[in-house]
């Protein structure tokens, strides 16, 4: 493996991670407000299909993204409406929508499978792409990748450094307290469920236009679940979530390389890597395995390591809030 090959693998890792980063950021915002949108796998499929078809018909990827965002927002709205207004289980509605999105996208997109459509062209950022090693990996991509960097950073800033972000987190942690301070809990939850859902929709279209071009049945199947797991692994923080997405992007990019390097190993074996990794990372952040290992570390670094590894969900996640 020479240098240019490493660069190629790492650049492909960033590209693979991009839609995951967008979906993880979206779901992180939604869950921070206290709502679990479990429908990711289905809404991403529906959005990928809708985005592709609209992009193809109008010959504009941007209209495609807009349509995909609308689909994602609609799915999120159904989950939010069902849980806030109707007091139904978010998990149940989300799961049904997952299956429904899968079937609906297969049906509605049946005449658009495996045909070429619009794509987003690569566009290096002048100067930055000249930086040795780092440049070609991070700054010789397409515009959605750059916008995603910006999205992750801005979302982090919004959630942790602004008044409005504090409100979102308050609604997700202690809705009663937020309510007492005059925050309209239901409104905040609707709003950020929809914004998060729109981002999930956009992530689906990023697959159709940039990462896995075109549309086919089950085009993005599985990625929604991976994104949901990364939100947990990321400890409901956009930046850690983005790092988690890059980790999963790395497995995808690495699998392509390993397949070439070890042709005697069955191709299908590499497909299992993300799922094994999913269990592993969830075990790492949730179980007390890490806690047991931390004890053996030097006392000085125990606390920072613990802070780094342990995560907890927003306290009111998935719990409906009664205002009447």
């Amino acid at each position: 493996m020479n240098d240019s090959e490493i660069v190629r693998i790492l650049a492909s890792m960033i590209l693979q991670a991009t839609p995951l980063m967008i979906a993880v950021t979206g779901e992180t915002i939604t869950e921070r407000s206290g709502i679990v949108n479990l429908s990711l796998d289905g809404s991403m499929l529906m959005a990928a299909m809708t985005g592709f078809v609209v992009g193809l018909k109008t010959d504009s990827v941007w209209l495609g993204f807009l349509a995909a965002a609308a689909v994602g927002a609609l799915f999120a709205l159904i989950v939010a409406f069902g849980s806030i207004r109707l007091r139904q289980s978010q998990v149940a509605i989300g799961f049904v929508l997952t299956l429904l999105g899968d079937d609906l996208s297969a049906f509605l997109g049946q005449n658009y499978t495996r045909i070429p459509g619009p794509v987003i062209k690569r566009m290096g950022i002048p100067v930055l792409e000249e930086i040795p090693f780092v440049g070609p990996i991070f700054f010789d991509q397409d515009i959605t990748v750059y916008l995603t960097y910006l999205l992750v950073a801005l979302t982090w800033f919004f959630l942790f450094k602004t008044q409005a972000g504090l409100k979102v987190r308050a609604v997700g942690e202690r809705p009663e307290a937020a309510f007492a301070r005059g925050v309209n809990v239901d409104y905040v939850r609707y709003l950020y469920a929809i914004i998060g859902g729109a981002l999930v929709g956009i992530s689906g279209a990023v697959y159709s236009f940039n990462v896995k071009l075109g549309w086919s049945e089950g085009h993005t199947r599985g990625f929604g679940w991976i994104a949901l797991a990364i939100v947990i692994f990321g400890g409901w923080s956009p930046i850690r979530g983005a790092l988690g997405a890059i980790l999963f992007g790395a497995t995808k990019a690495l699998a392509t390389y390993l397949q070439r390097a070890f042709p005697q190993v069955s191709v299908v074996a590499f497909n299992a890597i993300p799922w094994v990794l999913m269990i592993a990372v969830l075990l790492m952040v949730s179980s007390n395995i890490t806690e047991r290992l931390v004890i053996y570390m030097p006392r000085r670094i125990q606390r920072p390591v613990r802070r780094l590894l342990r995560v907890g969900p927003p306290m009111a996640l998935g719990i409906s809030f009664g205002d009447d």
């Binding site: 479990l38 159904i78 409406f81 069902g82 109707l86 007091r87 139904q88 289980s89 998990v91 149940a92 509605i93 799961f95 049904v96 929508l97 299956l99 429904l100 899968d102 079937d103 609906l104 297969a106 049906f107 509605l108 049946q110 599985g222 679940w225 949901l228 797991a229 947990i232 069955s266 299908v268 074996a269 497909n271 299992a272 799922w275 094994v276 999913m278 269990i279 969830l282 075990l283 949730s286 179980s287 007390n288 395995i289 009664g322 009447d324």
Partner: protein, 347 residues
Amino acid sequence: MNLRGWIARAWPAVPILAALLFTTILLVMFGASPIESLEAMIRGAFGDQSKTLSVIAFWIPLLLSSTGLLVTFTAGLWNIGIEGQIVMGAIAASWVALNLEAPSFILIALEIIAAMAAGGLWAGLTAVLKTRGRVHEIFGGLALNNIAIIFTNYLISGPWQPPEGGTFRGTQPFQAAALLPRYANSRFSPLSLVLLVIAFAMVVVALRGTFWGLKLKALGKNLRSAFLLGVSSEREVILAMLFCGALAGMGGAVRVLSWFDSLRQSISGGIGFLALLVVMLASYRILWVPLIAFFFSVVLNGSITLQLRTQLHSSLGGILTGVMVLFVLLFGDANKLRIFGKKKSHE
């Protein structure tokens, strides 16, 4: 009875009709005649004896899985991993069928036992990941689903590929002695129906008439009351999952030994997820479960014929069932909808 009473009584039909309307609109959008499509679906399900028997043969593993899910849902568990438990059951039964030689009835017994053990093991893994690793059963189960499916693909493209070469489609057909005896050249095996009846009766009795059933209910309803009852949540979670996994594994065995005659790529055919929908639609009314499962089986089998006749994608059946469950979840309870204005809340 006043108008309001009548509306409340007829209300459950509304989401069902809305789901039918939604599917009809889709059909019209794609230029298919709804009446002809309905006819094609009904003919696909009941057109002749073999089709009707296919509906029953599909219904059996679906109901076996739904029956298992009744136990896990009662315990408050989201056993999304059931799909993988079916697949592992199918793999274990296939291993016995491909590798052992014995008189038919011993072979079949071994296949069923192996399938139940494998399904239970896979479910137990999810349960232990939950109780010991604090990984939610949705994520543990989902990851294990995919690993089981990938394992199937590995087997049929690798070690178990037919002698004429791997096709990615399936293994070679099993020896005749390994297959469940089937009725009149159909896919329906009466023996699987017997197993199903036993399993279903056991679950009904267990949930309604035993202390274990009560413990599971306590666990599902409220962890604190379960604690007060002295229920060890870890033990009951693992037991409930093992039970469900064993039934799902049996369903997987029925899939390979009577629906097919070999291990195939998509061996479960989505019946695990479909079973989750069945139980959600029934919302704990046990005796509705067989009826709903049968209806779903009719829809799914009918939509395959629909695809042959109209070239429309067979996912239409999945859409109808999914939309139906979604609408019932959302609008099934007229009180929660507050269509009669805001009433005093009990929450």
